[in-house]
């Protein structure tokens, strides 16, 4: 089964891509004071009707034509709730979807955050634009591929020196933001 919260975030982003999203906003916020780890994934994809939304967290509900299991959302809901946290989906048909999960930071059942940098890089390969915000106890940073493209001009985001720099940038800033907190 899923072993990292970051893999759950990738699973949410994959739903967004299948919904036709061109912009995915991933946010991870940690508060040791509140004892929470907040995750949200927002997209500008096709959204869901109220009826679809209600069914979306049903195990085995899927709109996929192929054999998708439909276990992505229910599993993430369970893994947040079993840490004393919460799980919510807001969706507007034709506008987009936002999934928010809160995990109990210090709860024994909480999965580790895992390699969030690798998840963000994977989503950058797959989605036109990505915004990643990461904060912990007042520290933090935001990476926005739209701002990066503006700097790069004609140089593609997917060229090796750019990708290498972004990998280092994410790793260093994630580590500095996390500080001493065990994620």
């Amino acid at each position: 089964m899923m072993s990292e919260i970051s893999l759950g975030i990738l699973d949410l982003a994959e739903n967004s891509l299948r919904a036709g999203a061109s912009l995915i906003e991933i946010s991870v916020g940690v508060s040791s004071y509140e004892g929470t780890l907040n995750v949200s994934v927002r997209d500008n994809g096709c959204g869901m009707t109220a009826e679809q939304l209600e069914k979306a967290v049903d195990p085995f509900f899927t709109t996929k034509e192929t054999e998708g299991s439909g276990l992505g959302l229910p599993f993430l809901k369970y893994s947040a709730e079993c840490t004393g946290g919460t799980f919510r989906i807001e969706s507007v048909k034709g506008e987009g979807t936002c999934v928010k999960a809160v995990f109990g930071l210090f709860h024994i059942n909480r999965m580790p955050l895992g390699d969030i940098g690798a998840t963000v890089r994977a989503v950058m390969v797959l989605c036109a634009d990505v915004v990643f915000s990461f904060s912990a106890d007042g520290r933090g940073f935001v990476m926005d591929t739209r701002a990066i493209r503006k700097i790069l001009g004609d140089v593609p985001l997917e060229s090796a020196p750019v990708m290498e720099y972004i990998k280092e940038y994410l790793e260093e800033n994630i580590q500095e933001t996390s500080g001493e907190i065990k994620l």
Partner: protein, 119 residues
């Protein structure tokens, strides 16, 4: 903390070698299955390795994308490679190392890596 502004220098160094990305419709497509099953089996690392290797080797006309679960859960991570004529090769139980080999042998040199193809 590192700043994204450092990309200014990288851009200046690369300005004269642009045009790596292609919208060529008959390019090679690498499709990584990224349903819940694929992600749990290691699809993230496989996808990132494909993207990094294709960039590092400066291979043109290759698009990396994802699909949901394609019903081959026990063979995950699964990667489908569509050639310029749209012929499909399905690689199963992929790893980062196997992905590097597929880029080198199949995508660059046109030789299918039969050891990793679904039998």
């Amino acid at each position: 903390m590192k700043s994204i502004e450092e990309l200014n220098a990288i851009r200046d160094k690369m300005k004269d070698q642009v045009g790596l990305r292609s919208e060529n419709p008959d390019c090679t497509k690498v499709v990584v299955a990224m349903g819940t099953c694929g992600i749990n089996a290691g699809a993230r690392e496989v996808l990132n390795t494909f993207a990094e290797e294709i960039a590092a080797k400066k291979v043109k006309d290759v698009m990396v994308s994802q699909s949901g679960c394609i019903g081959m859960c026990k063979y995950e991570p699964v990667v489908e490679v569509y050639g310029p004529g749209n012929e499909k090769v399905t690689y199963v139980e992929m790893t980062a190392d196997k992905a590097k080999e597929v880029v080198e042998k199949h995508i660059i040199n046109g030789q299918i890596v039969n050891d990793y193809v679904l039998k």
